[in-house]
């Protein structure tokens, strides 16, 4: 009888049911609203990420769920039950803390058993469940160790096991990977994902690292100044940001301010002061004609060419002649192994980031410093933002 089967069988198979619901939740510290009128559903079995810069309220939101902060306004429901009045020790959620908070004076196995002892689980069952939990996080045989005999990564596994062994409805993770070094972080990312699939528990993670959120989460909420900026899947966040804040916070972006010049059913044109050519889109946007909009262009969606329009082999066939192509000179080259980043200065002086994958060991084109180049993009690549 393995731990994971236990956990899965104890759950109702309703994948789209909201397990957690924030209803108009506001938290004020003095006059400052750390969380401002957040309404959010988190569904059963999700790996949900709360993403945002420091001070955006994501940790406060998590701590309200755990019971360490009380909302100033609004309700928090778990399985439809308002948990506002429950103290942290009575809530069906468990947390993995940023510092791991493994009890330093207890053996690993006692750390993991602590929550079960508090629940007055029988001794025999405690032993069995602790062993299962140790196996789950790949720490079998280390139960007798003291925490300071473990590495940082192992301590985090103890914290994970200690929370999961209680079979919570929701597992909360506060910046789970921030204290690990780069190599270990990649490994732990993958393990968190597979662990979540294995135990089938809803995970909610707080992070300021957008790579981490994109890599792990099934759905993300981007927060800014206490409010939800956008809630979407990682790819939607990246490809279809709803605001300049989200476009800028998630990934790297070139942002151009412009005026919406044309807006039809399946094409639109934006004219930007910094770009010599108009930006042509093969779809309509929802803004009013003549209004100020922002064009967000991801660096990897910009192609760099040595030759200009009309000269072979250059071609950007999905835009009319003269659109979506601008000229510039390479000002900065950063070689990163798998790819090379370029900074290109346009005619007006604006710098644009782009990069090329190093597909072969010898770059056939060999772009050099101060070389004149053409930048072009497809009609479907730019995102037009209204705010």
């Amino acid at each position: 009888m393995s731990y994971s089967q236990d956990a899965v069988s104890s759950q109702s198979p309703a994948p789209d049911k909201a397990i957690i619901r924030f209803e108009g939740v506001t938290k004020r510290f003095g006059r400052l609203a750390a969380v401002d009128d957040v309404t959010l559903d988190i569904r059963e079995g999700e790996f949900f990420a709360l993403l945002g810069p420091s001070g955006c309220g994501k940790t406060t939101l998590l701590r309200m769920l755990a019971g360490f902060e009380i909302p100033s306004e609004g309700r928090i429901l778990i399985d439809g039950v308002d948990i506002a009045s429950l103290p942290p020790n009575k809530r069906p959620v468990n947390m993995v803390f940023q510092s791991y908070a493994v009890f330093p004076h207890m053996k690993v196995s006692d750390n993991i058993a602590y929550g079960l002892r508090m629940d007055r689980v029988a001794g025999e069952e405690i032993r069995r469940r602790v062993d299962d939990a140790l196996e789950l996080v790949k720490l079998s045989g280390l139960g007798e160790r003291m925490p300071d005999q473990l590495s940082g990564g192992q301590r985090q596994r103890v914290a994970l096991a200690r929370a999961l062994v209680k079979r919570p409805r929701v597992l909360l993770l506060d910046e789970p990977l921030s204290a690990l070094d780069a190599k270990l972080r990649d490994q732990m990312r993958a393990e968190l994902t597979s662990l979540q699939k294995k135990v089938g528990i809803t995970f909610i993670m707080v992070t300021h690292d957008q790579d981490e959120a994109l890599a792990i989460a099934t759905r993300c909420a981007v927060m800014n100044r206490g409010m939800l900026a956008q809630v979407a899947t990682p790819s939607d966040l990246y490809e279809f940001p709803n605001s300049r804040f989200v476009a800028d916070f998630v990934g790297s972006v070139n942002m151009f301010e412009g005026v919406l010049e044309r807006d039809e059913q399946n094409e639109a044109v934006v004219r930007c002061a910094d770009l010599s050519a108009p930006v042509y889109l093969d779809h309509g946007v929802t803004g009013a004609r003549g209004s100020t909009v922002w064009v967000a262009l991801r660096p990897e969606k910009i192609e760099m060419h040595k030759r200009g329009p009309g000269q072979q082999p250059f071609k950007m066939e999905d835009a009319p002649q003269g659109a979506n192509v601008v000229a510039g000179e390479i000002r900065d080259i950063v070689y990163l192994g798998s790819e090379t980043n370029y900074e290109v200065e346009l005619e007006g002086g604006r710098r644009v980031k782009t990069f090329r994958s190093n597909l072969t060991r010898y770059d056939q084109e060999d772009f050099v410093q101060d070389e004149p180049v053409w930048l072009a993009w497809h009609a479907c690549s730019p995102a037009v933002l209204l705010s």
């Binding site: 103290p87 020790n89 803390f97 510092s99 009890f103 330093p104 929550g115 160790r145 005999q149 209680k166």
Partner: protein, 286 residues
């Protein structure tokens, strides 16, 4: 090719930071130790001196130890001192730890004043504390006379606790500064009540501070003279007070012997405390 003289092996030369292997520091260490311990050594050595007057060495004897141990009033003073020290330690550690937790954990109006007030017994001259205690127990709260032992020591225990617990509070507070609040939250998150959290997480963290504080309180109480002198009655003489009264007649080797016993006792207790502390650190490391 000319043969070069072999360089001295590096082990012979002191490294750049090995000051203890150079003569200036050795002399400093030697003089310091001499200055610290020579008076104590003299006291101990002369406790074995076979002479009524304690000036010239006349030969080895243990008779002053015998004399000291058969001196009923000295033994009584000694047991009084130990009892007082023990009670003071228990009270001071409890009170001091609670005060430290209060000051560390809560914010309340007048906190700074409370913190300053707590430090007062540490900085006020002992003689003033002594007089204050004398007046307090004479006028405000007279301790009933003629109580059976050990209740008759109550006044002294209260006086000692009042100056010892701020030391405990200071030590424990310093220890609490390194406490990770997430540990407390983790315990709550895992289902512990506030009370369980206090015992399961906070107290283990405070433990080294509690032991250090207990040692401090014990030694402070055991060798306090001034405050005790003002609070002690005729039937509640403590060891330091007794030694002082013996000195008024003459400095006999008996006083030396009694003092030596006290020194040895203090050293042994301190060593035991340090051992306990080291063991609890070790246990953490496993």
């Amino acid at each position: 090719m000319k043969e070069r003289p072999a360089p001295r092996p590096p082990k012979d030369r002191p490294g750049p930071l090995e000051y203890l292997r150079r003569w200036p520091l050795r002399i400093m260490v030697g003089v310091t130790l001499l200055f610290l311990y020579l008076p104590l050594m003299t006291l101990m050595v002369f406790s074995f001196n076979d002479s009524r007057r304690n000036i010239v060495w006349e030969g080895f004897t243990l008779k002053y130890y015998e004399k000291a141990f058969s001196n009923a009033s000295l033994i009584e003073a000694f047991s009084n001192s130990l009892t007082i020290a023990f009670a003071t330690t228990v009270l001071s550690v409890t009170l001091g730890a609670l005060a430290a937790v209060m000051l560390w954990r809560f914010r309340f109006p007048g906190k700074t004043a409370v913190e300053g007030g707590m430090a007062l017994p540490i900085v006020v001259p002992e003689i003033c504390m002594g007089v204050a205690m004398l007046v307090f127990f004479a006028r405000v709260m007279p301790w009933p006379q003629g109580l059976p032992w050990p209740a008759n020591l109550g006044a002294i225990i209260i006086a000692h606790t009042s100056f010892a617990f701020p030391f405990v509070a200071t030590v424990v507070r310093a220890r609490l500064a390194s406490f990770n609040r997430e540990l407390e939250e983790a315990a709550r998150d895992l289902g512990a009540s506030e009370w369980r959290t206090f015992w399961d997480v906070l107290v283990p963290h405070m433990q080294p501070g509690l032991i250090a504080g207990a040692l401090l309180a014990f030694t402070l109480s055991l060798d306090d003279f001034v405050i005790t002198f003002f609070t002690a009655g005729p039937d509640t003489v403590t060891f330091p007070v007794k030694v002082y009264s013996m000195l008024r007649f003459s400095v006999t080797p008996e006083v030396n012997a009694a003092s030596t016993v006290l020194i040895v006792l203090t050293v042994v207790l301190t060593a035991a405390g340090l051992y306990l502390q080291a063991r609890s650190e070790d246990r953490k490391k496993g």
